[in-house]
Amino acid sequence: MSDSSFFGSGALERRTFLRVVGASAATASLVLAGCSDPAPEPTPTVQNQLLLGESDTGLLNYFYLLKQLEVAFYQKIVDTPPSNLVAGDKAAFDDLRDHGLAHRETLRFALGASTYETRLERPLAFDFSSIVLTSRVGVLTAAQQLEDLSVAAYAGALPLLVAPTTVALLAKIASVEARHAAFVRDLRTPGTFAGNDVVVNAGALQSVSLAKTPVQVVEEAKAFFLPFVVVTQSLPSA
């Protein structure tokens, strides 16, 4: 089989190829074996890979995954608050968790049967071993990281959506995320609500939100998804 027919094969599209290049040597050999037969679609159950899908559905899955992470984080704090958390903090974390639930369930409902989870045997359990959940400063630091990351994720990926109605709905969520981020930053260090680490100049743009691509966001958050690896190659990039 020639290279040209390999890439031209309708049965093995570019996205599928990208999906499998990161797989283990064993899987790679399966793919190579597949070259001798143009028909078979490689089985999509590559171990421990989270596939988000393409286009708007893929982006919705991306936002859904990030929101699941955020809610799981706040749920842990609400369930087992650090002993030095003060009363006002607890009420705020209740609010942050509840807003997150409303966002998460909106995204889940919008995805319907297209959630990435339909490809999993069981729901994802996020790994929080990389952060400190037992002190006020620990949870505020982590909350700031997650909220700032979320805002940058919306700033980077909202314009990639095709459907204007989806942009409009998610922008309403993103706006509240930005309020959360500023709130948590002010709680940690008053006056840092819009510091120059999160509000940037970019070319002609002045004082705009920091924006990150899905690749950058997933790279920063990858420890939370372990042992799973989130595959972002299928998402739109422009």
């Binding site: 969520i173 509240v176 930005a178 500023a182 609500f193 743009l205 004082s207």
Partner: protein, 297 residues
């Protein structure tokens, strides 16, 4: 309908639908060279053009609206830093407002450059009057003490920053065909939301604290005096406060399906009853955003 939407309407009569989004704005803007000719179109013709009412705004109209909004916020903080925020009692928060002012100036600069680059003469900032007197001492003072009393200032600034975040949300639909400009507008909106959150945090932590959350909530004490805008019901209905829009608890998907919160937010997913409205910032429609700006300049 306003001048720019008429302009766009005329320019699209024989133009192909926008295949290249970036060019779309440039095409609209390029038509600005025909300003004199278009301005000469008889009013009767404009009135006779069907279905022009209020729904035909373009990305240009939206840019002009957002520029006036940013000019208003620049004026608010410029005036306040020279008066109410010059009080030594506010020394600790003064740098916060200097930062916000600088960021608003950045937004205004970008929006002005966007218009200028493409051939329009950007409007100059009006002389904004935050007393509500419209620069006429004979008019009643709608917002007393804004530039002398810190709490009165914070209360108005909170409403204007919340309205700013909401006005951006109300305009993003007009940028759908220009992804670059859409991206810029979304990223400015997120900064406005951070400012709004901070103003609310300042009110909550001020020497005379007001128990507002950092996001609009039906639990917030209502501002008084409130910034009022025309009722979306129109006609002779009484004006409404900007937070009437934020009380919305219904979210819709693109196909107009309502997200069934009562069904999906139960059991382990149950939330406090105010959280559904709090979780979404709502757009301020163009008519209301325009009317709000007109209160001050």
């Amino acid at each position: 309908m306003n001048f720019l939407s008429l302009l766009d309407r005329l320019s699209t009569v024989d133009a192909p639908s926008a295949a290249a989004p970036r060019r779309d704005l440039l095409r609209q803007l390029g038509q600005a060279g025909a300003r004199a000719a278009v301005a000469a179109v008889p009013l009767a013709l404009a009135l006779a053009t069907p279905a022009l009412a209020a729904t035909t705004n373009t990305s240009l109209d939206a840019t002009v609206l957002l520029l006036k909004l940013e000019d208003l916020l620049v004026a608010l903080y410029t005036q306040a830093l020279a008066t109410v925020l010059a009080n030594p009692a506010q020394a600790a928060v003064r740098p916060n407002f200097q930062l916000i002012l600088q960021q608003q100036q950045g937004h205004a600069q970008f929006l002005r450059a966007t218009l200028a680059t493409a051939g329009l003469t950007p409007p100059t900032a009006p002389a904004f009057d935050f007393s509500g007197r419209r620069n006429n001492a004979a008019n009643p003072e709608l917002f007393p003490g804004v530039m002398s009393d810190y709490n009165a200032f914070l209360q108005l600034a909170q409403q204007l920053e919340d309205a700013s975040a909401s006005s951006y949300l109300g305009q993003i639909g007009f940028f759908a065909s220009d992804k670059q400009l859409l991206s810029a507008v979304l990223r400015m909106q997120l900064v406005e939301a951070r400012h709004a959150s901070h103003l609310r945090t300042l009110r909550r932590t001020s020497p005379s604290p007001i128990a507002v959350k950092s996001w609009p909530s039906t639990a917030d004490p209502a501002p008084s005096p409130a910034v009022l805008v025309p009722s979306p019901a129109g006609g002779s209905n009484a004006p409404v406060g900007i937070y009437s829009f934020e009380a919305n608890e219904t979210q819709r998907l693109g196909n107009n399906t309502v997200v069934p919160f009562p069904t999906v937010l139960t059991g382990a997913n149950a939330v406090q009853f105010r959280s559904i409205a709090e979780a979404f910032d709502e757009p301020l429609p163009t008519a209301q955003a325009t009317a709000l700006l007109a209160i001050f300049g």
